[in-house]
């Protein structure tokens, strides 16, 4: 069998094993073991322990549980509600004001959380009922939160960016910076769309009679301030020379724990335990996938599949944008079924040489990849954000949630197109702050 044929076989077996409902970590692991055993013999297993351990024993990955903890601490408090209610006092006379406030709150929370489902849950829990109370149609209410939640992995910190950085040996700090303006751009697109819908349908979804004085508007700001302070603090720690991403994440997590204890009085052991328990569950799940992907990647490399596929695509000599188009299609399809972390780890070794050879910037590509992953989070059949929303608002049927997500998916595709035409949106900030890459 040629490596390409083996690769196709690996693809088919992996799809079958994962479709059977095997947890992704163990599914990837067992496929790796099976192929290693069949083609290389059981002798290869002698290095399993070192590979599996080595897959996650790097200081860079420490940032992952730390940023999850940071988000979990803030999510356990009513900070999310405070943010969009504060925004609402400023936006309540704008068409779609409450929806726009929720999208804004999502993007602020995204700057504290590295995960999309967490962002979705933190804002949506109270945001969706509030929006429906004000007459926002179900599909717009859920769609805006599903899409707003995806900003969690684009606006730094971001779990997928950390994993991308570790997998491709790119700078995590630079990756974070690359996501800032694209994240703000998507926020802007979401808000513009919401405003347009509200304006066209001639509804404001808001209590137009309520008028807030400047004083009322100013007095809510202190509720948003602590969160903004943490965001600024993290950015300072990261880029002001205080610490590496992992250290910044650890300090940020501690900071958030203290903050919610002081401001929101969340210090009871039972509630702290809940924060840590939820963090542990999510980090363990992701870290196990990372460790298993290490075995999977090793198997692909030992059988020369990774290299052969990359060489095969290189000799095709297609136009680089045609190549990028098909990579996007591939990522979108993969994103429908698999969580972002698994996709990045499985495809990065093959994709990165291809895209750098084609002259694309790996940091720009990280952003494109992330937007693709974001879309995957709100498309069926496996869309984590959709399930989170289904959990928050069980009375809204899944087809309605899906319908609500469609315009936002199109907006994200538009975002990819804009980023392709103006790559500087992603690369300018890291270049400006950290100097251009070699």
């Amino acid at each position: 069998m040629t490596p390409i044929e083996i690769g196709i076989l690996i693809g088919i077996v992996t799809v079958l094993v994962l479709a059977a409902g095997v947890p992704i970590a163990f599914g990837l692991g067992v496929v790796a073991l099976g192929f290693l055993f069949y083609f290389q013999g059981a002798d290869t297993f002698g290095i399993l322990g070192e590979k599996f351990f080595g897959g996650i024993a790097t200081f860079e990955l420490v940032a992952l549980p730390m940023f999850i903890l940071m988000g979990a601490a803030v999510a356990s408090s009513p900070a999310g509600r405070d943010v969009y209610l504060a925004l609402d006092r400023w936006m309540n006379r704008v068409p779609g004001g409450i929806v726009i406030s929720n999208i804004g709150a999502c993007s602020i929370f995204a700057a504290l959380s590295g995960s999309s489902p967490a962002t979705c849950a933190a804002i949506g829990k109270m945001g969706i009922p509030e929006m429906r109370k004000r007459g926002v149609p179900d599909d717009l209410a859920t769609g805006s939160i599903a899409a707003g939640g995806t900003l969690g992995i684009l606006i730094p910190p971001s779990i997928t960016m950390i994993v991308y950085g570790v997998a491709t040996e790119t700078s995590i700090g630079r990756l974070f910076l690359a996501g800032v303006f694209p994240g703000l751009m998507l926020t802007g697109l979401f808000i513009a769309w919401t405003w347009f819908v509200a304006w066209r349908r001639g509804v404001a979804f808001t209590d137009m009679k309520a008028r807030f004085s400047l004083r009322e508007r100013l007095e809510v700001l202190p509720k948003v301030l602590p969160l903004l302070l943490i965001v600024v603090g993290i950015l300072y720690v990261l880029y002001g020379g205080v610490a590496t991403p992992s250290e910044a994440a650890g300090v940020g997590a501690m900071f958030c724990l203290v903050l919610v204890a002081v401001i929101y009085r969340i210090w009871q052991p039972a509630r702290i335990w809940t924060i840590f328990r939820d963090t542990t569950r999510e980090s363990v799940m992701i870290m196990m996938i990372i460790a298993a992907s290490e075995l999977f990647g090793y198997m692909m490399s030992v059988l020369y599949v990774t290299q052969s596929v990359a060489e095969w695509i290189a000799v095709l000599e297609v136009n680089r944008w045609v190549l990028m188009f098909f990579i996007n299609i591939f990522l979108l399809v993969a994103g429908c079924f698999l969580p972002p972390v698994a996709i990045i780890l499985m495809t990065a070794p093959i994709l990165i040489p291809i895209i750098t050879n084609a002259g694309f910037d790996p940091y720009w590509f990280a952003v494109i990849l992330t937007v693709n992953m974001e879309i995957g989070l709100i498309t069926p059949p496996v869309g984590l954000n959709l399930y989170v929303i289904n959990g928050i608002a069980p009375e809204i049927r899944l087809p309605v949630i899906l319908r609500g997500a469609v315009p936002f998916i199109l907006l994200m595709v538009l975002g990819i197109v804009i980023l392709s035409i103006f790559p500087g949106i992603a690369t300018w900030l890291p270049d400006y702050l950290m100097g251009p890459t070699g």
Binding site: V17, A20, I56, F59
Partner: protein, 172 residues
């Protein structure tokens, strides 16, 4: 058999507590390191390794606990659309396959741990931590994970647990 399942679940629960403790320790030490390095200008020798290994330990020891709460994410699309009996078969297959992986990994990571132990291997830093210490959570965690899978398979086979957490009537 009930007592076996209860014992396994209690062990996995204990694993969860240990994993949380490791995470907590990592957070505290990261902050200590930042203070030492940037505010006191002191050398930091052991912290980077400690934090890395604490997170690794939390991962491996926490794995059985996460399984106990069905937290290892999977794609349950096919199971959702097939009849209940087929779903049960699939659930047994999925758990069986995972069990095989855990057992193989537990064994070979034990071998690795044992090599490090008998060889007196250390980490390549000034701290020179004996390598068996950070390696130990791997075989232990994987063995307990396998045990939790055995308990899960028992519960599936005897109808205590619904396959993929889906009851029969949901299929219709």
């Amino acid at each position: 058999m009930d007592s076996f399942v209860r014992l396994v679940r209690a062990t996995s629960m204990l694993c969860g507590i240990l994993a949380v403790a490791a995470l907590l320790a990592a957070v505290v030490v990261v902050c200590q390191m930042v203070v030492m390095r940037y505010f006191l200008g002191a050398s930091t020798v052991w912290q980077t390794e400690f934090v890395t290994f604490a997170i690794v330990a939390a991962t491996f020891i926490g794995a059985p606990y996460v399984l106990l709460h069905k937290g290892h994410v999977n794609v349950d699309l096919v199971p959702f659309y097939i009849p209940h009996r087929a779903r049960l078969v699939l659930a047994l297959f999925a758990s069986g396959v995972s069990l095989v992986f855990c057992l193989v990994l537990a064994w070979y990571s034990w071998v690795y741990f044992h090599e490090a132990w008998t060889g007196g291997w250390t980490t390549e830093t000034v701290w020179a931590l004996p390598l068996w210490i950070p390696l130990l959570p791997l075989p232990i965690g994987m063995a307990l994970l396998a045990l939790q899978y055995v308990a899960d398979i028992l519960c599936l086979a005897t109808g205590r647990d619904a396959p993929f957490g889906m009851r029969a009537e949901e299929a219709e």
